[in-house]
Symmetry: C2
Subunit: 195 residues, 2 copies
């Protein structure tokens, strides 16, 4: 089944890239190293990915898709309850991010110097802001959130809080009980938005 | 006046370091480069700073002190008004951070691999959390915030929001009107905490 083998090769390359990026750093890790770690030829690598950058973007994309499907599974009876429930995802997000932090920081560093990487880096923020804004609009429609709430602004607030929790949780995992902080934070926000 | 000249030399070295870190990056910038940029001898450099890392920490410290005195000048009649007023500092903080972002990212990257740098990186978060927690306690005492509010938890929420706004504002300066987002966010939070 060549299709299946091709997908396995791609998955091996992604796993190997995570390990090499974590050990050597994104800049220092070479395509050769990733191929050696995966036990895959360079020809096979370039069949799947045009560049090391493309591997990174595929990893980012896969990680965001995992978060998306996690978020979708959190729907509760009302929107405020849904947002509070979503904070349960934080420990899993932190655990996944922790081993990838040096990789992300190197990527952000490049993003600050390279327009194209910057676009790819910023896209997830906009994606989640839209996601949260739609959910806030649902909350206004169902009557659980104040009718004068601006969904875009509220989506931005929720995203800012999530980004701040994420950065602190990853930089300082033992500095607080981040799930509790996340849950309390979201309750305060929802209290401020509730109708 | 040798004391005054010594302070001028230190200030020249700090200014030169900001420029070299921005141009070459923190890792690539050498003490030699910083000395050349400042027009100062290596002996004078080591009179003021034991290492390049010490220069970075002095820059971080100076920047935080500027924010601290800015925050102190924001006091209003009540604590909720004070917190909303504080969001006026955001544009200045973003402007100062923007040119330093690559430097910070490199430093965080090192922090993720070096315990001592990590401690220095995390200290400001704890400092601001305490600062906000004390202000929340003042708000409970004055009767403007709910008596059942946990000051530590509320301080953490405000800090998370500030960190999230900061990271997004620096990564995506034109993605939103960050001062407006900050002000709206703080109003929602204060609404959720108000007695």
């Amino acid at each position: 089944m060549p299709q299946q083998r091709s997908e396995e090769t791609r998955a091996h390359l992604l796993d190997a890239a995570v390990r090499r990026f974590a050990i050597s750093g994104y800049n220092a890790a070479s395509v050769d190293e990733i191929c050696a770690e995966a036990g895959v030829s360079k020809g096979a690598f370039y069949h799947h990915f045009p560049s090391k950058q493309a591997v990174f973007l595929a990893l980012l994309d896969g990680w965001l898709k995992t978060i998306d499907s996690g978020l979708e599974s959190m729907r509760q009876a009302t929107v405020p309850e849904t947002f509070v429930e979503m904070t349960r995802l934080l420990p899993a997000i932190f655990a996944a991010a922790d081993e990838r932090l040096p990789m992300f920081l190197e990527f952000w560093l490049q993003a600050s110097r390279d327009e194209k990487i910057w676009e790819a880096t910023i896209a997830p923020y906009r994606h989640y802001q839209e996601y949260f804004a739609r959910l806030v609009a649902d909350g206004i429609a169902e009557g659980s959130l104040k009718p004068e709430t601006d969904p875009q602004a509220a989506g931005q607030v929720i995203l800012s809080l999530a980004v701040g929790l994420f950065l602190q949780g990853v930089l300082d995992p033992h500095g607080a009980d981040w799930q509790k902080v996340g849950e309390e934070s979201m309750k305060i926000l929802m209290n401020g938005l509730a109708s």
